[in-house]
Symmetry: C4
Subunit: 289 residues, 4 copies
């Protein structure tokens, strides 16, 4: 595998590496944006070509588009292999495997047409958007959200455990009360109904018929309607404190060591001594327009 990269002069490899794998340079950023656009367009092609009317009326343009993106991504894959410091490591990484899986189906379909359905795997490349996110101005916002989610993870697990128990108990209850003749054919169907009801989705494909069933349904809906306040409250409090930590606590008074001074403060509000200049890279709040 290492032999692969020998084909290319060393400085070309270096240049390719910077463009493809790094993102702080102008070229790296352009490459990332172009790649994201190509991925979104290729996904759009997959989505549109699944429509029966499109498949029937214009199979050729769709096939051309599919081959265009396949060849483009193949070139990208080879370039990544050539320029990576450890090609094998990239090839076996999570993103490396997805990159390979995104191009294989088109080639395999030549030999085994049945495998063409695997083209949908290409959608997984959308996850590269998460990686690209890191390299842009959105890193701060994604950071606040991920800190909040990280801090809230245990509370959310406790909440989901609570929801699971409720859903299993009420699903079983309705299986007993309504029975198979009203569509609650098994406990899993009852649990499916309980989730549909508790989340206030309400498909209406499984619905209570008896009076008692309707009363329980009302209770489950009101429960779901009230209980949503819990994850909402958790995330609200966590995002609030994650945002606050981001904005304020970094600024400390040199004199009295108090923290949490406003970005626009020039003097310590506790002891009145002068503060050092405030340095941050966050956008200043807009004037009310």
């Amino acid at each position: 595998m290492r032999a692969l990269s020998e084909w290319l002069p060393h400085d070309w490899r270096q240049r390719l590496y910077i463009i493809i794998f790094e993102a702080d340079t102008r070229e790296g950023r352009l490459f990332d944006i172009a790649l994201l656009i190509a991925i979104v367009l290729s996904v759009l092609t997959v989505v549109v070509s699944s429509v029966p009317a499109v498949q029937a009326t214009m199979p050729l343009p769709m096939a051309i588009l599919e081959w265009f993106f396949t060849l483009l991504f193949t070139a990208e894959y080879i370039a990544r292999l050539l320029s990576a410091h450890r090609p094998m490591r990239y090839a076996l990484s999570f993103y490396g495997l997805i990159d390979l899986l995104a191009i294989l189906p088109t080639y395999l379909a030549i030999l085994v047409p049945e495998l063409h359905g695997l083209i949908d795997v290409r959608l997984l490349r959308l996850m590269r958007a998460f990686r690209i996110l890191k390299l842009t101005a959105y890193v701060n916002e994604a950071g606040v959200l991920s800190i909040a989610l990280y801090n809230a993870r245990r509370k959310i697990l406790v909440f989901l455990g609570f929801i699971s128990i409720i859903v299993v108990i009420f699903g079983t209850l309705m299986h007993i009360i309504e029975g198979p003749e009203h569509g609650f054919t098994s406990i899993p169907v009852g649990i499916y109904w309980a989730i549909v009801t508790l989340t206030t989705t309400g498909y209406g494909d499984v619905v209570p018929v008896t009076g008692l069933g309707k009363a329980i349904t009302g209770f489950v809906m009101l429960l779901g309607y009230s209980v949503i306040a819990i994850p909402t409250g958790i995330m609200g409090a966590e995002i609030h404190s994650a945002m606050r930590r981001k904005t304020v606590t970094t600024r400390t008074c040199g004199q009295c060591q108090t923290e949490g001074h406003d970005p626009d403060a020039r003097f310590c509000k506790h002891c009145g001594s002068k503060l050092g200049p405030y340095q941050t890279d966050s956008t200043p709040p807009p004037e009310p327009s």
Copy 2:
């Protein structure tokens, strides 16, 4: 076009301008409120006359009402053209075009009856409500909301991007699992189903039939039920801090006249001089009635 405004004596034009385009004067405010009422009534006419029973039983009163509002808005449009400092600029502005589009269909329908359906364009005049909003006591509240939305814009975009990827992946998955025989005829239909399910809307027009499909549906609903905590938490924190920034601005430093000091500050954070005791002048909370 400039010639148009020559028809009117200069002081009349001036007077008209103040009434129509300005809102700080008593007359300007009355005009804005009268206009808003006329717009809402004209929209109501359009809405009501679309009901088949109304069209069948009383076409004449509806036609009279339509012509009444058309002539009223025509008069308003001409008055705006006459009094505007730069009539052409108004005519080509966003609101100018909507004002024109709102009256054209009735006239055009005399020549080409098919164009009468365009009368619905009149609804767009409702957007003037946003402009009128700015001129009233509600400007503060709209200000807090728009600051919060502005500050949250990136977090909301990150969130919507995340939702889009989830919706495309699960829509494709269900297209594969359930297939056309259960209503998931294409990936776009699958994405439509995923949005209906994730937002916990639950029409019930496309519904899983297989056990695996139901299990995935349950997961998507629980995801949507939990994930709504994210935009809610974002907006909650942003509105909180937008309101807080609004609240504190009443505290002014006696020395440098800067506003917005924290309630617990003892020294001015801008010039370092001691602050007076904090006295709030915010509206006192009402007694529970």
Copy 3:
């Protein structure tokens, strides 16, 4: 009318007044609770007797119960008239009229059986629960909620105005796109669909069929799913500050005049001087169990 109250000795009237209209005494509180129970039971009777099976199998017990509550409420109504300082004023007040309307239908149905359906008016007496609420330990909690609602009223109106415009515009759009053949028979039906969709209720009785209609539906659902963050954020921030004002800001340091000391503080956290004893009637926070 004044003659009515002459029938009763003065001290009896006085006693009745205290029991019926006041709530700080033990007897007044007992009367209010007994009345609330009677109202809830009478409403239950109305609700249960509307079930066809109940009407068919046991019309007599239901009639007895109805007459029992009618006579009870008639006695209460006469007692109120007799003991009120200004009987006429009570009789014409909002609650006085509801009290009368709650007993009239049973009597009128003797003469005109068709009027019996008006018995449902009795439900309106449930609103007395709001008045009784004021007299209990819940007054504080209801106070926080009503302060929050009062402070948020303008923001909520701005929000509802925004929702109304969206609903009218999208309802009209779908009426044009889907048309009567897909169930969108008029603009009001379109608006009904838009509300069902934007609030993520999703009955499924009016549903898009065309591709463009489904795409717009997806957009409206995502809008509704995100936009709910706005009222939620508003109320969250308002309840937060209403609760905070209730809990903390009342406690001031006598020495340095700082406000917002914790209920369990004994010394000022800013200047270290002793605080006066904390006096409040709110329940102390429970230990984590």
Copy 4:
């Protein structure tokens, strides 16, 4: 009953007690986790064996699994009885009765096959998860949530009372307006519809047909859509203050050893002595990955 425990040597009983009833030791924790896994697996068996296809194709493996868990839980029940300090008290406690009810149906079904349906009672053992929760790292998170729920209980009751009155009034209104011919056969059905609509669940099994009914429906949905902000706001504020109280408790006064001082406090609020500089030991926020 006490005789039972005589069968076992005293130090064995002691050991068993520590493993089964205590959770601070390594063995106790392992036992709790193993028990939780066994409960979840037994519930899964009950759920899966309710599917008609499973009952038809493999009744034997399911019967074996059921007997396996029955014998396992029987052994656990006997061990609890043997090792408990007061066996009778355990046997009559809430969890003791559930433990017994979870094993009885399998044995009873030998004599009376009809009683086999009671096997679903086994689901109630899932509630042990709440007890096990207390003994793990999740105790803090569950604590914050339960403090918040406890503090919010009265506000939530006021809210549920308000919702109940709305639901009864609108359910009755729609029963009158739409009538039995459109599916609103009685007031309870109307209330069921009102809950389905207000919580934005929207099954679509009972749906308005008349214009007035649709207008009221739109109002109820918008009400439900806005009103959810109230429980959400309540919980948000309560979780926020519960978390805050939790956060600050790490700061301890060197003088009087009290905890829970505010981050910006300079003097102990309990004894008035100067506090050391604030150093947080909370988990540092993770780097955005």
